[in-house]
């Protein structure tokens, strides 16, 4: 098993070296001329200096998704009834909850920490073993009853502590990320206490299995959504980049995001529209 670790570590090193070499080959995104202030602002907003390399891995990931992840997710969804799939998700979420609890504490979120604690104990004991999400108390008549699941991870904690996201990254296999969240992903393994209850030699396997199962379950629940997004977007890569950024910002804010997410939109909407009454809106 130790040997297995070594090979994992070595192949990780090799992959890293490969990525660096590829980055050198494909080059970086060319910044616009400094005189064009608007273009420069847009370039900084994208925060994607490795765009050519990221686009390359985006296509690689789409290939993997097409050949492997999506078909497996479809089989998973087709073969297992909804109740079973909900149990799968519930078990995986329950195993992540001790780690989420630690992050709630690290972020100073007392109420959410108590939610996580309550969810873990309730679902572990009465679930049982997390097989049913009793704590969420899913009731279509009253969705506010019970405590719904919430996620947390090291990337979010680092953000709460003031770390910026750093450049956008498209990771092979894992998908969209950024420097902070990639670092967080590496650290997260050490933070979840659940990883320490299994013997040392099974720890990586245990964590990997959870990631894989969670990945398949999540993908199986978003097949149509992603098809819609892909069909609707002109630049799918840029759309996913925007979605990831907004999704993370919303996760970090724990639902207390800014009231108006579009401060700069006011300007566009306030501008005098009278000059361009060419709308097709008018019949």
């Amino acid at each position: 098993m130790r040997e297995h670790f070594m090979t994992v570590r070595n192949s990780a090193k090799l992959a890293l070296a490969g990525v660096i070499a590829l980055a050198a080959l494909t080059g970086c995104a060319t910044p616009p001329p400094a005189s064009d202030k608007e273009a420069m602002a847009a370039f900084n907003e994208d925060n994607d200096p490795l765009e050519p390399l990221n686009r390359y891995f985006f296509e690689v990931n789409r290939g993997i998704d097409h050949l492997l992840l999506r078909p497996v997710s479809e089989i998973y969804r087709g073969a297992l009834p909804e109740g079973v799939r909900n149990s799968v998700r519930s078990v995986v979420n329950n195993l992540e909850t001790p780690g989420i609890f630690v992050h709630d504490i690290l972020q100073g979120e007392v109420e959410r920490a108590s939610d996580s604690f309550g969810r873990f104990t309730t679902n572990t004991v009465f679930g049982p073993a997390g097989l049913n999400d009793i704590a969420a108390g899913d009731n279509p008549k009253n969705p506010d009853a019970g405590i719904p699941f919430h996620g947390e991870d090291t990337g979010q904690t680092l953000a709460v502590w003031g770390a910026g996201p750093g450049p956008y990254l498209m990771l092979p296999f894992y998908g969209p990320s950024n420097v902070r969240d990639t670092l967080g992903m590496a650290i997260n393994f050490y933070i979840n206490p659940i990883n320490y209850i299994v013997p040392n030699e099974h720890r990586t396997g245990f964590a990997t299995a959870r990631t894989v199962v969670k990945g398949i379950d999540t993908r199986s629940r978003s097949i149509e959504t992603f098809d819609d997004i892909e069909r609707g977007s002109i630049d799918f890569y840029a759309t996913v980049r925007s979605l990831y950024r907004q999704y993370r910002a919303s996760q970090i804010a724990n639902g207390r995001g800014p009231k108006n997410p579009l401060p700069e939109m006011s300007e566009e909407l306030e501008e005098d529209n009278g000059a361009e009454r060419v709308s097709s809106v008018r019949k």
């Binding site: 969705p143 977007s233 840029a238 925007s242 979605l243 996760q251 009231k259 566009e268 501008e271 097709s280």
Partner: protein, 215 residues
Amino acid sequence: MRRRKFLGLCALTLAVAVSATDRAAMAESRDRPLLPGEARDMVKALGDAAVTMLSNQQLSQPEKTRRFRHLLNQSFALRGIARFALGRYWRRSDFAQRRRYLVLFEDYIVNSYAARFGNYSGESFIVVDESIDQRGWATVKTRIQRPGGEPVEVIWHLRERLGAVRIVDVVVEGISMSLTQRSDFAAAVRTAGGDMDAFLDTLEAKVRKIKGVAK
């Protein structure tokens, strides 16, 4: 000669007067804060109309699309959203390009959503609450409840402009539809080398493609 000058002066005065009242009216309407319940009622009416339309199995797809286009024009600040989505490239476009873009944008939005009508499976629409900020802009929080699924939180942003209350953005689970659209279009225009006409051709081709799916 004098007469002509006089007429010219008259026209000028008239133009100034008209534009001044126009502007005054606009400034007035621009600042009107939303009244409590106004936005909420509008979103509720829109949601109910959408659910009625989607769950009506007698309606054909083209008829649904037609009704959806009507709802969209009635409730959304479509032109404002279109301009926002194009960002800085709007200012760089000429009149003909803007005109073509606005028509394409509406078609693009209508057909993107029309292609999803088939996905409707008895979702219900619940208005949770409404809040009005110090600028008088409203946000309405709603929940779309899928039978047997997890609820999806949707927040609607509304504003009053030129005498009409309109939706300016829809935020689904923390993701702004307007902002996402803007990122997509910005990248697409850049890919087209900043050439507006090339971008509009791409958009037109996209609309045609989506229309094919929606049918």
